[in-house]
Symmetry: C2
Subunit: 456 residues, 2 copies
């Protein structure tokens, strides 16, 4: 399959090569994950605890130990709208960096919603529909996840209600309009449509909202309506599972390119993008000792993997979710308003946290000016304008490529370009004008938030 | 090559299938085109008249009669960043319309600039660079062409200066920032950096600008600087030529799909998008009597093909360009501010006009509310959010598919989805809110503009 053309730029799979199964890393983990706990009892939660929020098929995936989980045909059929996504060799970026390294990027911005998020929004919509659900409630911060869920809802004829963080709702109308064009209902959170929202608004009128508040509203909405389930865009095992179509395709595409990555980089907010690209390669590490070095790139303003503690904590600030064992900066910690909205999260997926804690992956934190610098260099070399989130991975990949030049050694680098930046141009303008700020690691705020960690 | 999977959605070509030549329809035309005339002498212009504005390689292509013109390897290499573009079968739209018709769309939104425009921006940048040019001056209305030229300039290390119509500059900052991210300099037109701009501003301070004014500024910039050439994104023969990569790929992809289009639809502003998709199929009509029905979709607010006169006219309102024989609403006619900015042009490419005049193609005009209705239906079925321009083609294609249902007959329809609408969401919001207006055909304004047609 390897190309004889040394300038080949895109490695493209026919849609018959869309994976037929998701890869479940739980089957290959050398260490056992810690179960989620009920916050009231401190005991492991069971399927019945989650049934009000999720269809049973997804709860089953959440706890499955099967290595391969079949992708239903209607999901594969919807994936055809944009999958397999292309793998690119970044020839022009390599030349711009004058590096002997080979840089490859998997590009998920080809999805209609513009990021990797539909990879899980589609199956979540499908399983909900199969379970007789008519309506999905979810939250969104910057709008990537809400767009994906609105798109998936349109495909499976589901009503979608999106609680969008008030600050983003006001600042990013385009993302809201995209969701509405797909037919979703979008309200600013905190809203008057939930009890929790009304409580917040009565205590703090004009509250700009947060992802934690929006999660609490969407959870309440789903828990109090029989026709409605909740959908989450990251963190949970089944969400990470769905994203493994990305890494499975990348593995096959790297085989087409005739080489395997020495280093694999992906950005991490909740962890699903990182898991999607890297878990199939980590499986090779575990099963075959493949030796891929794997690096999580996170923002200096919310560096849960590099600076957080590994402990049981809540997934939301409202403390409604189960307790999960993860790297956390404290559920009360609200990161500074960096432009990579998808990385502004206090915690990390339990599976990604476990891998970091046991040394199977590395993590590196990046300031936003350095990440935007990488994004602009990338756009000028490769054309694609990256979303602010994957510019963190780009920064790490470019630093690795520069190190390879300085060491005079070849190296194969693979990164995940998980979305385009067409809705993020205001942040590029701030970078180009020199008015983009870096935020130092907020030691005191994190210490205060960690002081509130639940005791288990 | 035909697929055995009846649900196949995307027909994808390997990048080795990027065309090696552009298709020059001049070689197959059964009627002779009328030459451009010098506005002073009324005589046909020669290469020397154009030399201050364009590199000689492009002037040669403008007048070539060769059927196939080789695409230089550096251009093909840059095309690899996004070509070949995918051809989709719109299974979900067909189901939504309950039509027996097969609907295919060629999707050019995969280019980094988001439209078909880089197909000609790249060769224009390449030939300029080859000719020793350091700098390109161009204009842009809504920003699609400016983005493409800025991207192409980054690839070939050219300075790019974009005169952006003031109204768009103020209303569409994202397009401006995208150009700046690629490294281009963008000024609002009318500007103080040209003599013509200063003249306009002194006569009408606060002038919101027009494409005609911006063209005049860019032409003056290029004509008065030795290191600078001018670049245009449509209308001219060589621009249409470069776009034929679209139709050539589509022909091969339709062969993969195992059928040929009965009807081909593309939207027309200056004509390059329409030409790109349809000329290779028209070539089959001329050479083999293939019998493809070909329809140009234009806005009711600027219906040059359906309502204009076929006459010699200026390409710009400033009356600086050569006189070209085309369907025109008069060079002084400024269309109402419909949201399909790329279709707001008083004239039409001479080659497209010639084909319409002699009955080789049809034309249909569309109101913007009907086109946005088609765009929203398409987004909900297929996921991709179309730019306002190709929703005109979508409207015609959907009407053809509905007619096929009503007649109970099968039909194969191909259309060009020439760009995404990520920078056009404000117009979708107006449509969804019901506040988008239709503009009736402006009979009196056109009559007034046509009264000023030059006498030849």
């Amino acid at each position: 399959m390897a190309s004889s053309d040394s300038r080949q730029t895109k490695f493209i799979l026919d849609e018959s090569r869309i994976p037929r199964t998701w890869y479940n890393i739980a089957a290959d983990l050398p260490v056992a994950p810690s179960p989620p706990l009920h916050p009231g009892t401190g005991q492991p939660i069971g399927p019945d605890d989650l049934a009000p929020l999720f269809p049973m098929a997804l709860i089953g995936q959440e706890v499955s130990a099967e290595r391969e989980i079949e992708i239903p045909e209607p999901v594969r059929d919807a994936y055809r709208l944009y999958r397999p996504s292309p793998l690119y060799r970044a020839h022009r970026l390599e030349r711009a960096l004058d590096t002997p390294a080979h840089i490859y990027y998997k590009y998920e911005g080809v999805s209609p919603a513009g990021s990797h998020k539909p990879n899980t929004a589609i199956p979540q919509a499908f399983y909900s529909r199969e379970a007789g659900v008519r309506r999905i409630a979810t939250e969104t911060g910057a709008g990537q996840w809400g767009s994906a869920m609105a798109f998936a809802g349109a495909l499976f004829d589901l009503e979608v209600k999106v609680y969008m963080v008030r600050a983003s709702y006001d600042q990013k109308p385009y993302r809201r309009i995209l969701m509405e064009t797909y037919g979703a209902e979008v309200v600013a959170s905190p809203s008057v449509t939930t009890e929790y929202g009304r409580k917040v608004l009565s205590e703090t009128p004009g509250n700009p909202g947060s992802l934690g508040i929006a999660i609490s509203e969407a959870v309440e909405d789903a828990a109090t309506r029989d026709d409605t389930k909740y959908a989450l865009g990251s963190v949970l095992n089944h969400v990470l599972l769905h994203q493994t179509v990305v890494g499975q395709e990348a593995l096959e595409q790297m085989e087409m390119a005739g080489e395997m990555p020495d280093v694999i980089v992906a950005c991490t907010g909740g962890g699903s993008n990182f898991a999607g690209l890297t878990f199939p390669f980590l499986g090779r590490n575990f099963r075959e000792g493949a030796g891929h070095r794997i690096i999580a790139a996170e923002p200096e303003a919310a560096p849960s993997l590099t600076r957080g503690v590994y402990a049981y904590d809540f997934g939301d600030t409202g403390r409604l979710t189960p307790l999960i064992k993860m790297h956390t900066l404290g559920a009360d910690f609200i990161p500074e308003p960096i432009h990579a909205g998808g990385l502004r999260y206090h915690g990390m997926a339990p599976l990604v946290s476990l891998l970091k804690e046991h040394g199977f992956i590395e993590a590196r934190s990046i300031h936003q000016r350095a990440s935007f610098e990488a994004g602009v260099a990338f756009a000028r070399a490769e054309g694609i304008l990256p979303a602010p989130e994957p510019t963190h991975a780009l920064r790490v990949a470019m630093d690795e490529a520069i190190a390879a030049r300085e060491a005079g050694e070849s190296k194969v680098i693979l990164l995940n370009l998980c979305g385009h930046g067409h809705f993020d141009l205001a942040s590029y303008e701030r970078y180009l004008q020199g008015s983009l700020e870096d935020y130092e690691y907020p030691t005191e705020k994190v210490e205060a938030a960690l002081a509130g960690l639940p005791t288990v």
